[in-house]
């Protein structure tokens, strides 16, 4: 039987990695994910896991060593945040292009500059097109559960694509929550053994990894890679069900919170969903038909499923924990709005940036979003397609 523990999100990720006991972890410390490699090193020092830990000199080398190890032939994991993730950028594409099912924990954090070590989604949104599967957690429990499932999803023969399990820096990585830690053997049984496809270390069958592809082959490689990534969607659902059977917590690609008859809907990812659920509950107590669509799988983006579940709403606000950076809105907004373009019913969709660099997002801010949605429905007018929550002064 699992047990209830009161530990941080980083500890949840570290325990998941300890229980998975990957063959190799190559990692470089960076706030706020530093406790993950620290804890792993301690578990190894204490004989609680026997992973080979490569304490590299940079995140670029972390992902490079992960690629070498995974191509060598075995299960490989790492952890990072923000600038570390950005330093891996080149190698993220190479890991996914090489179809190596590396799994990475990301304590999501703001990117410099200005330097800021706190939570937002600048890192994982910046790397959203690097070909990785992206799962985003609301809390420590999900951070733990997602990493365990990510291993099975990434290593699925129809997928063979690296996956990251993200959770908000500090909001989750450093907050102590009560969550259920499963038994070591149960977790190991769930993830099972991994049989690498073309290991370099099988020297009797020499293989070439990382040959370059000229114009007459590159396109086919990228599209074949895309198929693997797209296949992940169904695998995420199946693994989520299996996980439910094994541990009693089932997962899908999203969580529809009080969405059945919801008129006013917020779409969001990560820790802000906890706050939003509280606000939805109190609005519901007052007879307001509020709902939350919490997205768990950002890549591959499940646009059809999201359009289906959202097209019944009267107005939608999408919360992006990044700056739109010159686009019409944040990445989640643009993808949701694009998904709704083909729906029979196209409710108005507005966008907020929130929580950048660790800025607090409180119930009062979420309430203001629902107020705006109500006003849009009442007046039929969208005054501001884009706005900010809890920004000093008004935007625009």
């Amino acid at each position: 039987m699992g047990k209830k523990v009161a530990l941080t999100g980083n500890e949840a990720a570290a325990h998941a990695i300890r229980q998975i006991n990957p063959d190799v972890v190559a990692a470089f410390p960076i706030t706020p994910s530093t406790p993950i490699p620290q804890n792993i090193a301690q578990y190894i020092a204490d004989g609680k896991m026997d992973t080979e830990l490569v304490t590299v000199e940079s995140e670029h080398s972390a992902m490079s060593a992960c690629i070498g190890a995974a191509a060598g032939g075995g299960r490989v994991m790492t952890a990072t945040s923000a600038n570390g993730y950005a330093l891996m950028w080149e190698m993220l594409y190479i890991a996914s292009g090489a179809r190596l099912p590396i799994v990475m924990a990301v304590a999501a954090r703001a990117l410099s500059g200005p330097l800021n070590i706190h939570g937002d989604h600048s890192d994982i949104m910046g790397g959203r097109d690097s070909g990785w599967i992206e799962l985003v957690a609301e809390n420590s429990q999900e951070a733990y559960d997602n990493l365990i499932q990510a291993v099975k999803i990434a290593e699925n023969k129809d997928v063979m694509t690296p996956a990251l399990g993200a959770f908000d820096g500090f909001n989750i990585s450093h907050s102590i929550e009560i969550w259920e830690m499963e038994d070591d053997d149960k977790v190991r049984e769930f993830v099972g053994e991994y049989e690498p496809l073309f290991p370099l270390l099988k020297t009797e069958e020499p293989v070439t990894h990382g040959a370059w592809a000229p114009p007459d082959w590159y396109f086919e490689h990228r599209m074949s890679q895309l198929k693997g990534l797209l296949n992940a969607k169904d695998v995420v659902v199946n693994v989520g069900k299996e996980f439910g059977k094994a541990f009693g917590r089932e997962y899908g690609i999203y969580e529809a919170y009080k969405m059945d008859d919801a008129d006013y809907v917020i779409v969001a990812m990560g820790s802000v969903c906890g706050t939003t659920k509280d606000v939805v509950d109190s609005l519901r107590d007052n007879g307001v038909k509020a709902g939350l669509l919490k997205l768990r799988l950002f890549r591959p983006f499940p646009y059809k499923e999201l359009a289906d579940v959202l097209s019944g709403a009267k107005a939608i606000a999408v919360l992006d924990r990044v700056s739109p950076a010159g686009a019409q809105g944040g990445p989640l907004f643009n993808e949701i709005r694009s998904a709704l373009y083909d729906a029979n019913n196209r409710p108005p969709v507005i966008n907020y940036s929130y929580g950048l660099g660790g800025r607090d997002t409180q119930p009062v801010h979420i309430n203001s979003v629902y107020d705006t949605l109500k006003k849009i429905v009442e007046t039929g007018k969208v005054e501001k397609q884009f706005d900010c929550l809890n920004l000093r002064g008004a935007w625009g």
């Binding site: 000199e57 940079s58 080398s61 490079s64 060593a65 070498g68 060598g72 020297t203 020499p206 040959a211």
Partner: protein, 313 residues
Amino acid sequence: MALLNDLAKKKEGLVNGHRLCPGCTHSVIMRQALAAADTDKYDIVIAAATGCFEVSTGLYPYTSWNVPWIHSAFENAASTIAGVEAMYKVWKKKGKTNKDIRFIAVASDGGTYDIGLQALSGAIERGHQFLYICNDNNAYQNTGNQRSSATPFGASTTTSPNGTIIQGKTQPKKDIMSVLEGHHMQYIAQASPSNWRDLMDKVKKALDVNGPTYINVIEPCTTGWGFPAHKAIEIAQLAVDTCVWPLYEVVEGKVVINYKPKNKLPVEEYLKPQKRFAHLFKKGNEHLIEEYQKQVDKHWEWLLKREESGISY
């Protein structure tokens, strides 16, 4: 050292059909290195940095490699091989292999002296078992001969060109051997494909070290340096005989010079056959050749003194 007859019969790790330029020495050096490896005793796995050698031997859907080989990026041959080697430790521990496998990372000067220096330094410090071979062709040749920190003084490259007021590269070449010496490896060496027995001895020695080792090899580049395709080995020999490229080892910090030319040739002999140095021979540029000679002599004297002192770590 095996007899040439035996070496000729040995299974090749790098086979024909690659797309290197005629007269390129990348393949010559790697074939010498793989011939030196005692493959009856152990297997070899290679990680390559992006560069001429990589693009010419691993072009999908073909490969010239008959040994396991991985390429991932430019600056990370060392960290990539470190990952493979870490996985090998796991395979050994878990009984997934009982083979003796030894690891080689191969890059040129761009991937070693410059963009890959950090990854190399880190991997050496961590003590992975791997031999890092740098095929030093004195510039970024894969992108068309741009200067690197390995480009020698005076050489004209596309980013340190000879012009009306500047005559080629104004800085001397980085002494990468000294940079790497600071890592206190058990074995590092400098070699040349012209002195192939010496190169092979060095590779064999390095592969027998249970830890990181480094060999710096001169890799004359027919297109970048500007000499006829059949002259590459002669150019390498001239680099050795002028002491532009001393053949030496640093064993536990102790310098051993493997070849002292009976007639140390003037640097002109090395410079003259190469177009990249042609401007040095124009009237008024004599001082540049003098400066070149001074740098070479200074370094050679220093090496001789190091050897004479006999000090080690």
